[in-house]
Symmetry: C2
Subunit: 378 residues, 2 copies
């Protein structure tokens, strides 16, 4: 059957950018706006996701959400766990699709399974939702490609409106996934009454302004390029974050792995002391995501521990931060937002850092070795 | 107050071993036997954990288990998730203690929180259970040190009888934790009627014999030493496994990190295609845990993918395996057991591999740099 492609030529051309990946990083403000448009309104205080509305009674009765995905989408899912538990007070389990489907998972007919996949064709994720459907769970798909297999196999869902993503390393697909999950968590929280109206408004206003703050963050590109030049020859990187920034650490490390072939690993910052700190010496760059207002002192002490072992510290901090700035070798200052929205901002410098390091190492960033854009085999 | 130490001098001497870590690796068969003794009987088909008995009604009614821990104990917890969901059919959430406590977690009064800590003094884990206690959850502690803070703060619990663990990198504490969680999962499964009596007997018989199979696995020491000599200068390692072997991959990678300072990372084998495969070239050793009978063909295809990218393959397989043996550069053949018990066996070659590599690199295996035996700060 012939499928009409729903995008114009310019959408799949690089324009003024040298690579699709860089173009797609810069498209994030617009991609997020496109994904939010018509689905929320801050001044009127509403959120309306069509797919969610249709099944809201069943979703409201769910005792548990299971989020299943692979790769970058799994990181979006982890942020989804924090959001849904925090705002809507529903227990969430995030599962690697490949693990979930093979281990006779517990799926009950009142569970809601959220599947996340840019392409909508990820083989393990598709198989996981087929299994969950057999067990009568409600399947909610978050895909970017319209009419894709996972979108069709889901009972309901929301498309991310990221536009075509050509670079193999996912960027705007990630940030639009996170935006959609934020709306899902907020809408369910509203239905459940687990969020005060005033707090909801504050978050929605911030969400409406998030694109501007991402644009502001993109202005850091030259600074990040300078940092990249210093660390381009590193063999290893650690990425550390707490709370909402922990999945961002994982995603930032994955970007670097994918396109620069540097072994980068993400960890919850406090886990460092239970092993990874042994790796730290003067050759180890450590990227800290330190924009948290909650547990800020804890992350300061993690930074101190790395400094004491002579690790090189690149810290993403809030504008005006002084405490970490004193300790770090490099600080990247990003605009402040609601803490629950911070991944949308803190991921941006990490995408740029990975991009520049990969370019400086002569890597093919749009088509990294060994990787496929859409993993349709198991 | 004066506390009497409950162990004799020889227990804290190295005996014929050069290092405590090696001694403790070799003590695992006995440590597991000590931990199982009086708590199960295969021929009579019973399991009896005192701590569990006391609260069995409440535990039976739990809708969810939360396992919280740090480091190696967190890996034991992940195996616990697989065991409890698989055997007792209760949803389990495994949480890094440091993340859990700071994110306003969902804890309900009918939740059971299992805290795992060798020392029983891990600061984040202790704080996590204090929080859960305030919210009326039942706290079940799994500790090695008698009278430790976590043991005292728990409503109930089971001690691992590993004896004193001196090496900073945990070995026998891990395997006894896994043994105890296996008993917990089996006893709850028995109460809930989610396991057929015949299956229960089979598992208990295998558990009674597991120490002999670990002894058999320890005989591979010389072969593993040879493999260590080949890869001792590697800068990076990947560890891959599926199902019950996925947490083992994480734990194997952590051992290497902790004592050899090589950047090693564990992944669920199928996630490799979503990023880490980009790291693979002729310089990357990849350790596969491939003893699974379920999804065996899937792991074979993961091995093929690594081979196609010229990665060096060290595979832990079941005795007599031919398919993976043909593909791998090195095979380590271990005895077969029930798949749910396989972590107790497959971890052993990984502990030995880390040990020998660290020794060959001139590292202080018992006191690795930057690490403390018990992390009593946050």
């Amino acid at each position: 059957a012939i499928q009409k492609l729903e995008f114009s030529l310019e959408m799949i051309e690089k324009g003024n950018f040298e690579h699709f990946m860089l173009k797609e990083i810069y498209e994030q403000p617009k991609a997020i706006e496109d994904s939010l448009r018509g689905r929320m309104n801050a001044s009127q205080g509403w959120i309306k996701l069509g797919g969610l509305d249709e099944y809201i009674n069943r979703i409201d009765k769910a005792e548990r959400f299971i989020i299943t995905a692979c790769g970058t989408s799994w990181h979006s899912g982890m942020i989804g766990e924090y959001l849904l538990e925090d705002l809507a007070r529903i227990p969430v389990e995030v599962e690697y699709a490949s693990e979930f489907r093979y281990r006779n998972p517990i799926i009950r007919d009142n569970d809601v399974v959220i599947a996340i996949s840019q392409s909508g064709e990820t083989a393990d994720t598709l198989a996981a939702i087929e299994l969950a459907k057999e067990r009568q769970a409600l399947i909610y798909g978050i895909c970017n490609v319209i009419g894709s297999s996972i979108a069709r196999a889901s009972h309901a869902g929301s498309y991310t409106h990221a536009g075509p993503e050509i670079g193999v390393a996912s960027t705007k697909a990630f940030s639009t996934q996170v935006s959609i999950i934020t709306l899902i968590a907020l809408q369910i929280a509203q239905v459940k009454g687990t969020i005060p109206t005033s707090k909801m408004r504050e978050i929605l206003y911030e969400l409406e302004n998030i694109s501007k703050k991402i644009e502001e963050t993109l202005l850091l590109n030259d600074q990040i390029k300078e940092i990249a030049a210093i660390y381009k020859d590193a063999n290893n990187f650690l990425y550390l974050g707490r709370g909402y920034n922990f999945p961002v650490a994982l995603e930032g490390a994955l970007k670097l792995k994918e396109i620069s072939y540097i072994h980068a690993e993400g960890y919850p910052a406090a886990e460092m002391k239970h092993g990874p700190i042994a790796l730290i010496d003067e050759n180890m760059p450590v990227v800290f995501l330190a924009t948290n207002k909650s547990a800020y002192e804890k992350i300061v002490s993690n930074v101190q521990e790395v400094k004491a072992r002579k690790g090189k510290i690149i810290a993403v901090v809030l504008k005006g931060d002084t405490q970490i700035a004193e300790l770090a070798d490099h600080v990247i200052e990003v605009p402040e937002t609601e803490e629950i929205l911070s991944p949308l901002i803190t991921i941006v410098p990490l995408q740029l850092l990975a991009y520049h390091i990969a370019i400086m190492r002569g890597c093919n960033v749009d088509q990294p070795r060994n990787l496929a854009k859409s993993v349709t085999v198991e």
